[in-house]
Each structure stands twice: as C-alpha cells, then as structure tokens.
Amino acid sequence: MVERGRTLAMGQDETTGTRPTVEAPFGKALADVARTHDKIVGLTADLGKYTDILPFRDAHPGRFFNVGMAEQNLVAIAAGLARTGHIPFATTYGVFATRRAYDFIAIACAHSRVNVKIIAGLPGLTTGYGGTHQAIEDFGLMRLIPNLVVIDPCDATEIAQATQALADYDGPVYMRLLRGLVPVVLDPARYRFRIGVATRIREGSDIGIVSTGLMTERALDTADALARRGLSVGVLHVPTIKPFDADAVAEFAAAVGQLVTAENHVTSGGLASLVAEALFERGVARSLLRIGLPDSFVPCGSVATLQDRYGLTAPRMAAAILAARG
C-alpha cells in the first residue's frame, strides 16, 4: 500500500529539496534594511510566525505592531503610519490581504500612492489548507488596482533584494512571500532585482518559458530536463507583475519557438493574460501554452500531491510542453 501524502502545518517550507536554502529570508532582510531605513515599521495580523517577520520584531521590537486578526485594520493602520512618514511592511496571507482588505488597499493605499508594503504569504498553491488559504487569483485582483506595484519573487536571493528595493521605492506595493526554508535559485553575486524589470536567466530558442515566482525555479528544472532531450529552452523571469515589462516579453517571444507561461496562479488574469495583452498590443499573434492553476478552487491535501496534480512541478511542466509540441 502506498503511503498517501498528508496536509502539513501551515508553516511548511517552500523548498523543493534540490537547492541550498535560506531560512526566513524576508524577515532577515527586513531586519537588515531597517538598520539604515529608520522609518521602517513592521506590522502583522496575527501571522508573525507564519510570515517570517519575527526576525524583524526581534531586531526592532519598538517598531513592530501585531494588530490581531483584522486585515482591514492592518492595512488602514499601515496607511496611517505611512501618512506620518513611516515605511510600513504589513504581513498577512495573500487571501486575507486581497479578499478581505481590497477596498483598503485600493483607497487608503493605492489611490494616493501611500507608501505601504503589503507582504502576502501562501501565494497560489503553497499550502494544503484549501481555498480559504490559497491566494490563487491575487495577481488579477491586485494588478487591476491603479498605482499598485505587484511582485512575485522566485527565491531567497530575490526576496532579500526586493525587500531592499521596496524600502527604497516610495509607493504602495503588494509582494508575494515565500517563507520558511526558501531555496536559492538566483546567484546573489550576479542577479540584480529591479522593480518592473524582467530578466532572461537562461538562453534558448526552441521553447521560451516566461515565468514568475516559484515557477521560475521549476522552469529552470524543466529546461534542464528538456535539454536532455535535445531541446533548447530559454527562461524569462518576470518578478514584477505590475508594472509589466512588456517590451522584454515581446523581445523574448520573438526569439523562441513555442511560447509558454508558468505561474503559481490561475491562468487568467495574471501572467498569461499579461503576456497575451502585451503581444497582441504589438501585433504579435503567437500560440501560448499557459501553465498554472485552472479556473477552480483547489482542495486540501499535501502540497506535493496538489502541485503534481495541478501541473506545477517540473516533470509535469516538461510533459505539458512536450504534449503541446505534439
């Protein structure tokens, strides 16, 4: 009898087990950045442990506020702090930030470009707790809010760099969070995160994968697997969903055969839609293989099982790409 996967605690790690990891890269980076940015304050809505912000609290206890289970108030308080000159980083889960506090993000933060950073845990399918906890549609919701920057970092390197970039940027940001033991995919000595900039991290021409968030790691693994079958696969990593680097996508798309998008999100309203909009706007008609979650809620279960069933693993991506090539 095969042992079935089990739903694990909410705080399970993001690692896929094949790369070195950093523990709590966001909280560590925020604690470091706050040593020079003395206006940074940290807030959470009863999810300090599960959003990795405790290293910041421990380093700067007088600048940390837990507002309880109240996400509208989390965002409102952050907006008030920003209006008095502070730089609030407010953490909760993506589902609660987007679905519960949408009006507050739109009006209290984005409308007047108030300098609030919303850090959103459990993006897409990174928890087995089901539809209540899986932020599968947050790109779509957040990208439609004017003035809001939307970021989906792919690894520990990018989380650390993006945390610094968010502190330096004066304006509202929604950033997805990978927590726990987070893999190192990008070389910190060579990679440089900039808001709004997509980066070609692997060259290849038969297939081009446009990816964001944790799917970039899987895109690289997929590229390795397909290379062993003689296929050349390029990867364009798009960490910023908004503002979207449409020029980089168009340039990348023009130089590859089969175009693929890979996102830890439903395949409408997010990365795939942005790519399609960018290409059509430029008069480029391409077939597009969209890898991501379907238009349905995802049930409970173990993350490994669910990611396999929903096609977010590298082997499933490779199979989907080969199937699309016929």
């Binding site: 109240a70 509208q72 409102a76 308080i77 209006r83 502070h86 507050f104």
Partner: protein, 280 residues
C-alpha cells in the same frame, strides 16, 4: 511658526457659536449653487468643526502639511460640504473657492479626496477613518511628536466592522492622543438608522475608550468635552455627539429624508432666512 488657535484655558463659547453660524451660512450658499447635497449632515456637525478649527486643533493654515500639526480626519467623506466651509473659514483654502463646490474640476468635491489642502484622508468609503487615525497616532507617538489625531465618524458608519477593529487596536496600543468624534445624527442612506446602535457610549467604554456623551450642537458641552479629551490617561477618547441633522434650519431639522437633500431653487432663500432667524 504661525500656529493658529492654540488651546486656551478659557472657552470662547459665543465666539465659536459665531464661527459655527458662518460655517452654516457657507454651507447653505454652497448647497444652493449645487442644488443638492449632504447639507443636513454638514449643518449637524458644524458646531464640532467650529470648535476644532478655531479652538482645539494646532495647525498652520499657511502650511497645512506642517508635520507637527494635529490631524483631523473626516471619515464620512460625504460631509465634505462642512469641511470645505471650515477650511475656508480657517484660511486653509480661499473662501471664494467655495463657489466651486461639486463643480467639474473643483478641488471641493462632494466626497473628500486628499488632494485638497487640509484633507488628511480619502473619506468616501465608510469605515476607513478610524484605522488610519490609529496608524497616524502610532506614527506620531513613534516620532515623539506632540501632534494629536481627531477622527470624525458617524453612527451609521459604526455598522462597518472595520470601525471596531480600529477601536480594539486604539485601546490596545494605549493611544491617548487619539480622539474619536462620533456623530450620532440618527440617519443613514436608507433613512433612519437601520440597526440598533445603542447604547453607543457603553460600546466605546467596553472597548476601552474614555467616553463622554454630549449634545453635539451645544458649544459649551463640545468645548468642555474636547478639553477633557486632552488628558494623557493611557486611553483613547471617544466623544459621542448627539446631533440634529439640518441643525439651525428648522425646515431641514424636521425633514424626514435628510440624508441627501434636494431643494427647489426658490426654497433656498427661505432656508437661508430661517438660518438667520433661528440660530442660537
């Protein structure tokens, strides 16, 4: 530093009543030009705004963004007609600009946007004010600023759950420089208050706020309550203001559909005459 209206120990009640009358005159003129508006709410809150802008708040009308100022947040953005009147009378915006209330390209919108000088938040989506006020009070405390934060909200607005999220936080963080001014005028968009909100003062006390309940159209009581709210007791302050919508114009005071008032052009003269006859 031209800080206006530093708190004084004496209460110039009759002076402030005169200011409130001027605010009401501005509002009638603005609503007449617009033809309609939230004038009933504006007339109801006029006394509180007069006391704030001419007695209690520390601010510089020439520099509305002065960092050391006290903040006044109008959470009910549709009361903007009263705020524009107060900001004009206080010298933050020109009185002549009141003519443009509600007109295309005016800074004086029917619902407040924070692009207008003297406006601290966008107030149209009810339930947004108190949480931002908590954040501002926290922020000012972190900076060891003297600035205090006053947040107007309404009885109908208390139906928004975010109000109570903020009430819990304000008390938990011990924000004694935060003052909630709760305008209980008994009306909301669908008419009379649709849910049972009473006992309002007991609710705020239960949430840990130092609470007083007054006639919100009695200047002496307003000044007294604001004075009491200066105490550094470790608790936020709530002042429950029992106000009469349309206060000062009997025809509007007795109007049943007061939330959004439409008045025929010829009727405005009669209303303006009532204001001059019945004030005080």
């Amino acid at each position: 530093m031209a800080v206006k209206n530093l708190p004084a120990d004496t209460s110039p009640v009759s002076f402030l009543q005169g200011v409130a009358l001027n605010l009401r005159r501005h509002m009638v003129a603005m609503a007449r030009r617009q033809g309609a508006g939230y004038i009933a709410q504006g007339l109801g809150i006029a006394d509180t705004l007069a006391a704030l802008y001419f007695h209690e708040l520390r601010y510089d009308p020439a520099r509305p963004d002065w960092v050391g100022r006290d903040r006044f947040l109008l959470s009910t953005g549709h009361y903007s007609i009263a705020l524009w009147a107060a900001l004009a009378e206080a010298g933050v915006i020109p009185v002549a600009e009141l003519d443009s209330y509600g007109a295309d390209d005016s800074r004086l919108d029917m619902s407040t946007l924070d692009t207008t000088p003297g406006v601290e938040m966008i107030g149209g989506s009810l339930g947004h004010g108190l949480g931002q006020a908590v954040g501002m009070a926290l922020g000012l405390r972190l900076q060891q600023s003297e600035g205090r934060v006053f947040c107007e909200l309404s009885d109908g607005e208390m139906q928004e759950g975010a109000t109570w999220e903020a009430a819990m936080a304000g008390a938990s963080f011990g924000l004694d420089t935060l003052v909630a001014l709760i305008d209980c005028n008994g009306i909301q968009a669908d008419g009379a208050i649709v849910l049972r909100m009473e006992p309002v003062a007991d609710k705020w006390r239960a949430f840990g706020w130092e609470t007083t309940e007054i006639d919100g159209n009695d200047m002496a009581q307003i000044v007294n309550a604001l004075h009491g709210a200066r105490s550094r007791s470790g608790k936020p302050k709530a002042i429950v203001l029992r106000t009469t919508p349309g206060k000062g114009i009997p025809t509007l005071e007795h109007r049943e559909r007061a939330h959004f008032v439409r008045v025929d052009l010829g009727e405005w003269d009669a209303l303006a005459r009532e204001l001059e006859t019945f004030h005080g």
